[in-house]
Each structure stands twice: as structure tokens, then as C-alpha cells.
């Protein structure tokens, strides 16, 4: 890591220490997620939301995103630092979906300037959701539109689920008038792909941060918790578990760094699959190491588990991502591999 980036990371950590509850107090800071007003303001004042005005801005933004993940940071910053920069014009209070389920949600359709369908798992870059970015089809042609969340024919629901650290929304549209058309045809497709790439990397970064926090908590706990007259960290089963966690984190780190640097779909897919799978496993092991205390509400362990699990489920599934990567690799090699099911 360059000196510049290392010092930026220190700045981020100081800001978090100052404007966000530490993990140990996160769950006892009242209703979840904690109020992010102060953090939003400080992050804006420090220019985090404009980092990408510079060429390698995303490299810096990614540092912040990862630290925020490890601190169970607010969804607004994740959305704002990650996706907003690729949205045309000023996105304002725009939310977009981080994981619509094509099998469950009716794919949004546009007809006569009105949109119908559902979009789930939306994260907003602001406290309230004014408008939602919807990728729809207009008679077969891809379009990217904004729809007012509180407008006619539109209903915004908060999605309650396993992860209390971020607020997700579902927009249900029944002939809702569109507010603005952002792009059509190829441009709409390009925008969608750009957003998806960012979401992949965003989830990977968030998860990597979570995994690192879980590892740190586990190592600290293993050193102090005693059973059978010794710190549990002296038991080989625990030691090896920590090592497994470390290896998972390091491997994911490499892939995530590569994805941030290259920005291409392949790398993003690999990073997402590896990063989210790693965090799901690392947090699971952390819960195991912590025993009973890890399940209590006040302890951050279970929150790290939940957020990691949801990240894993959002974006593309690890399996479909890996398949896409494999297909990409095979195409790049130009090999004559028979299709699945065929034999030579």
C-alpha cells in the first residue's frame, strides 16, 4: 500500500473512532442502525464523496468502504461512495438495488411513461429515499429511469430481515409515472453493467472489512478467554481456526485489491465471490470461537455474521459468479472445450 493510501486509511479510522460507535458498543448504542448523520456530514466535509473527481479516486474510496464495512458502517455511505460516482448527473437521494432476485421480483416494465414491477434490496445514499434507479424494459429495449418513491403508483417498503446494520428498501410500482429517463438502449445496458460492477466490488470490500474485524475480535478473545485453566487461544483447534480465518482474509484481500485496481467485470466477480464467501466463513468461525457470548445482542459477533451472510446473498451468487468467471476464462483461452454434457 502506498504511503498516501496508508495515511488515508488512518484518517478514515480516526473519523470512525470519532463519529461512529466502536464495535464493542455498536449494539448498545440504541436502535439499529445507529444514527449516521454525523458520519455523513464529516465524510462529506472531508471530500470522501468527491474522491473520484481524481483519477485514482476509487482506490481511496475503496479504502474507506472497507473500513466502513469492518465498523458496520451505514448503508448510505456504502451506496454513496460506491455506486453514486457512476450514476449520471447528481443522483441526490437516489437508491438502487443491490440484489434484486430475478426469480422473485417482477422485472420492471415501462409502458407509456409508466413503470410497473418491483425492485428490492435498495440501498440509498441518503437518509431517506427520494427516487429509485430502476432498470426496466420498454418494449424489449433496456432503459434506466428514476421513479419517485413516494409518488403515485409507487410504494416504498423497508425490508426487515436478518441484518439490522443497514436499511434496505423495496419499491413496488404499479403504473408509477417515471420521473426521469437516464439512459436508453446500449447506454442503459452500459450503466447497468457499471452499477453491477460497482456493487460487486462494494460487497467484496464491505465483506473484507467485516472479515478483518471478525478475525481481530477472535484473536483478541482467544487470548483472554480462559477455560480448562488456559487461554482458549492455546488450544490447537482454536489456533488452527484462527489461521484458517487469516488465510481466507489474505486470499480475499488479494482478489479485492486486484478488482479495485482493474475495475473489470471478471475481477469484480472473483472478488465478490471470494470476499463474500470468506466473510461468511470467517464470521461463522468467529461465532464458534466466541461461544455463547457471540450470540448475545450486545456483542458485535452476530451482527458481523448477519451482515456477511446478507452480502453473500446479494449481488450475484458465488456459484453464478464463478461460472461467469470460468466462462470468461475459457473464452479468453479460445479453447475448444465441449459444452457441458457433451463428451468428445
Amino acid at each position: 500500500m502506498t504511503a498516501e493510501r496508508a495515511s488515508f486509511r488512518q484518517v478514515v479510522q480516526r473519523v470512525l473512532a470519532d463519529s461512529w460507535p466502536p464495535l464493542a458498543e455498536y449494539a448498545s448504542s440504541g436502535a439499529l442502525p445507529p444514527n449516521a448523520e454525523r458520519l455523513r456530514k464529516v465524510s462529506r466535509d472531508l471530500g470522501w464523496w468527491d474522491l473520484e473527481d481524481e483519477d485514482d479516486g476509487f482506490a481511496f474510496a475503496s479504502i474507506a468502504i472497507q473500513e466502513l464495512g469492518g465498523a458496520l458502517g451505514p448503508g448510505e455511505l456504502l451506496a454513496g461512495l460506491c455506486v453514486n460516482p457512476v450514476l449520471p448527473a447528481d443522483p441526490g437521494g437516489v437508491a438502487c438495488s443491490w440484489g434484486s432476485d430475478p426469480r422473485r421480483d417482477a422485472a420492471p416494465k415501462l409502458a407509456d411513461g409508466r413503470v410497473s414491477g418491483e425492485v428490492s434490496w435498495c440501498l440509498a445514499a441518503a437518509d431517506d429515499v427520494e427516487r429509485v434507479l430502476v432498470f426496466a424494459e420498454d418494449d424489449g429495449e433496456p432503459v434506466a429511469v428514476l421513479v419517485r418513491s413516494q409518488g403515485e403508483g409507487a410504494r416504498l417498503e423497508e425490508m426487515s430481515g436478518s441484518d439490522p446494520t443497514r436499511r434496505f428498501w423495496r419499491l413496488v410500482m404499479d403504473d408509477a409515472p417515471l420521473d426521469e429517463i437516464l439512459a436508453r438502449g446500449d447506454q442503459a445496458t452500459d450503466l447497468r453493467l457499471a452499477v453491477e460492477r460497482r456493487i460487486s466490488v462494494g460487497l467484496a470490500l464491505d465483506s473484507l472489512g467485516i472479515a478483518k474485524s471478525a478475525l481481530a475480535l477472535s484473536v483478541a478473545y482467544a487470548k483472554i478467554r480462559e477455560q480448562f485453566g488456559a487461554p482458549i487461544g492455546s488450544f490447537q483447534a482454536i489456533k488452527h481456526r484462527c489461521v484458517d480465518m487469516f488465510v481466507l482474509v489474505e486470499s480475499a484481500d488479494v482478489l479485492v485489491e486486484a478488482a479495485v485496481a482493474s475495475g473489470d467485470t471478471q475481477s469484480g466477480a472473483m472478488a465478490k465471490a471470494a470476499g463474500c464467501d470468506a466473510a461468511a466463513e470467517v464470521t461463522r468461525l468467529a461465532l464458534q470461537i466466541h461461544g455463547g457470548i457471540g450470540y448475545t445482542w450486545e456483542h458485535p459477533c452476530h451482527l458481523l455474521v448477519r451482515r456477511a451472510k446478507l452480502n453473500q446473498a446479494l449481488g450475484g451468487s458465488a456459484r453464478s459468479l464463478r461460472r461467469a468467471v470460468a466462462d470468461g476464462l475459457l473464452a479468453a483461452l479460445g479453447t475448444d472445450i465441449p459444452a457441458r454434457g457433451e463428451r468428445r
Binding site: S160, S162, T296, H302
Partner: protein
């Protein structure tokens, strides 16, 4: 010769239990341990109903309020109950291991006092074993029972006490021996939860309300008649109780039901799913069957009054991995829908999310998986020379 049938009456019983549950409980019932006290009340009523039909303590001897049924009938009950979110609520503890412990080690008075209410569905018990400093290392527990005149006074703290807030009685493990007497200085007491000096503090947890609690004991009085078994001989009773507890919950039954429920929920999109994920679903079904068979082996040995420590631990290890594997399969097939709560339109009223949270705890409940592995490895390899 080998025979894997449970008998005609078992199949009949299974159908009967399913009908009873379906008729009694609303479709969105997810167990007694919610924020709605009506859920607990429903399970109380249902337990009494089961008791009335001789189905609560099916395998207990008639003299203690049971129906002298076979352990296999008891197994069927256990399976159907756990598969359907445990409609008996917290009472399953009394049936699974408290009652059997009292039957094995209790005095005539204790049996007369405690067994009938468990059998009629009128008693809720909790297990006061674990302490903040004594989790896996249970034998190091420090709650102290001091002899004062003709009785005992108990002071200390228990943690993770499931359903302590709902329980009327507690099986309390306390140290009656000297400070470092380890497992040789522990005694068990049967204490009413409304006795002076007991405070229960709920612990909010990932599992949901009621599952975890702290209990504080401040010079709580206990008579000699309330001691279960002999002085300083509690560890043996605890071991038996824990072995019963390990197989008392038919985890594989809920896993199996959820795997098929999943297929039902996804029936219109099943073949759209990646073959690899569907393969994982099939694999999980095999693991569930294996976990089931290992549990049955324990039941068969219990029927023959044989030792079951090793087999119970093996069954527990298999059941734990099964729980987690099924949670994984569900999450792969349902995607983010698997993490929705009931209020957000979750499939099957949130049964999948509920299972996922529960499966996370499977590796630590009733003895961590490491403890189970240690028990098994001691059988295979003997004790380690060091530590």
C-alpha cells in the same frame, strides 16, 4: 435381522401428530420463543392436550405418568415436534432429560412431586449449568452451595439458561466440595424459580427472546430433600442429562422438512436453478438421513440400557454439520429471500431465516462441537498425555 421400520403404530402416530399440530397452530407459528406471550400460552395448552392423549411422556413408565410406549414412539413425537417448531415450547426439556434424570436418581418424594406435573404438561424446567467462566469447562463451575445448619445456601451466577424466564423449576448445579474439587465436588439441586434470592435477567440474543438468560442466586435456600442424587455426585447425573439432551432434539427432522419445504416453495423455478445448487440440496438430504440413522443408533442403545456417551456425541457432531449444511443450501437456493423476516413477506413465514439463526448456534448449544470431538477422540485415542 436388520429392520428400519418403526412399526405400524409409529406411522399412525406420525400422521396423528401432524394433524394435531396443523389443527391447533396457525400457519405462521414459529415456536414459543417470540415476543408474543400468546405463543408461549399456545404451547402450554398444546402440551396439556398432548398429555391428555398420552402423547407428552409417551415412553415414560405408567407409574410416572407415561404410557409405557416404546422409545421409538417417543422418537416419532420428538421428530414431529421439532420439525414443526417445537409446539411443546420449553417443556421439551422436562421430557427429554429432567424427567429421566429424576426417574434415575430421584428420591420417592422427588419423583412424586415432579414427575406428574411434567407428565400432565404443567411444568417448565430450565438447566442451571453454564457460568460466565465455565462454559466448555463445565466442571470448573463456581456457584457455591454452603452448608448452613440443616440446609444449603446457594450463591452464584448462571448464564445461557434457556427459558429461565418461563421456567417454574431449575436443575441447578452448584459446588459442594472444596474450591478445586472439579467434577468431584458438584451437586445438583431441584429449585423452584420463585424462591427468594433468584433473579433472572433476559439476554437479548441472535436466537431471539427467551433462549438465553442470566440467573443470579443470592443465598438461595435449598433443603437436603431438594438435592438430586448424592452430595458431590452431581457430575455423573449431569453427564447423563447432557447425553440425553444431545439427542433429545431431533434436528434432522426439521432439516428434512425444510429441505422439502424449500422444493415446494421453489417448485415453479426449481429447474431454473443451477444444477450444482440442486446437487447440494440432494447431498444435504443424504446428510440428513445419516444424521437420523446415527440418532437412531443412540435410541436403540438407550432402549437396551447401554452407555451412549460416544454415540451421542457422534450423533451430535453429525446433526450440527447437518443443520449448518441445510442453512447453506437454503441460502443458496433462496438467495436473499432466505434472510427475510416474517414482517417482510418472507417465504414460509420466515421459517428459513429462523432456521439459519438457529443453525448458527448449533455448534455451541449443549456443548460445543469441540467438546463433542474431544469426547469421541478420547474413545478412539485415550486421554492426551498433556493438557
Amino acid at each position: 435381522m436388520l429392520d428400519f421400520t418403526m412399526g405400524e403404530s409409529a406411522a399412525e402416530l406420525r400422521g396423528r401428530l401432524r394433524r394435531m399440530v396443523a389443527e391447533f397452530f396457525p400457519a405462521d407459528f414459529l415456536g414459543a420463543f417470540t415476543d408474543d406471550p400468546a405463543d408461549l400460552a399456545m404451547t402450554q395448552q398444546f402440551s396439556r392436550k398432548l398429555a391428555g392423549e398420552g402423547l407428552l411422556t409417551v415412553a415414560w413408565p405408567r407409574e410416572f405418568g407415561g404410557s409405557d410406549g416404546s422409545v421409538w414412539e417417543q422418537t416419532v413425537v420428538r421428530e414431529e415436534m421439532w420439525a414443526h417448531h417445537e409446539p411443546r415450547g420449553p417443556q421439551y426439556m422436562g421430557l427429554n432429560w429432567v424427567g429421566p434424570a429424576i426417574m434415575a436418581y430421584g428420591t420417592a418424594e422427588q419423583k412424586a412431586l415432579h414427575l406428574p406435573p411434567i407428565a400432565t404438561g404443567d411444568a417448565i424446567w430450565c438447566q442451571g449449568f453454564s457460568e460466565p467462566e465455565s462454559g466448555s469447562d463445565l466442571a470448573s463451575l463456581q456457584t457455591r452451595a454452603t452448608r448452613v445448619g440443616d440446609h444449603w445456601e446457594i450463591t452464584g451466577q448462571k448464564i445461557w439458561t434457556s427459558y429461565a424466564g418461563m421456567a417454574g423449576w431449575c436443575v441447578l448445579a452448584a459446588r459442594t466440595g472444596p474450591k478445586d474439587s472439579g467434577r468431584r465436588g458438584i451437586s445438583l439441586f431441584l429449585i423452584p424459580m420463585d424462591r427468594e434470592g433468584i433473579t433472572v435477567r433476559p439476554v437479548r440474543a441472535m436466537l431471539g427472546p427467551h433462549h438465553l438468560n442470566e440467573c443470579f442466586f443470592d443465598s438461595v435456600v435449598a433443603t437436603d430433600g431438594e438435592m438430586l442424587g448424592e452430595v458431590d455426585a452431581g457430575w455423573g447425573v449431569m453427564r447423563t442429562a447432557l447425553a440425553h439432551e444431545r439427542v433429545g432434539i431431533a434436528r434432522y427432522a426439521r432439516c428434512e422438512r425444510l429441505l422439502w419445504l424449500l422444493r415446494d416453495v421453489l417448485r415453479h423455478e426449481w429447474t431454473d436453478h443451477d444444477e450444482g445448487v440442486r446437487n447440494d440440496w440432494a447431498s444435504a438430504l443424504v446428510q440428513v438421513r445419516v444424521a437420523r440413522l446415527l440418532a437412531y443408533r443412540v435410541v436403540e442403545r438407550q432402549e437396551g440400557n447401554q452407555m451412549v456417551d460416544l454415540e451421542a456425541s457422534q450423533a451430535r457432531i453429525a446433526a450440527t454439520t447437518c443443520d449448518q449444511q441445510v442453512a447453506e443450501v437454503v441460502s443458496q437456493l433462496l438467495g436473499p429471500r432466505s434472510l427475510l423476516g416474517p414482517a417482510a413477506g418472507a417465504p414460509s413465514h420466515g421459517a428459513f431465516e429462523d432456521h439459519w439463526r438457529y443453525a448458527q448456534a448449533a455448534t455451541v448449544a449443549s456443548g460445543t462441537i469441540e467438546i463433542q470431538r474431544e469426547i469421541v477422540s478420547r474413545e478412539l485415542l485415550g486421554r492426551p498425555a498433556v493438557g
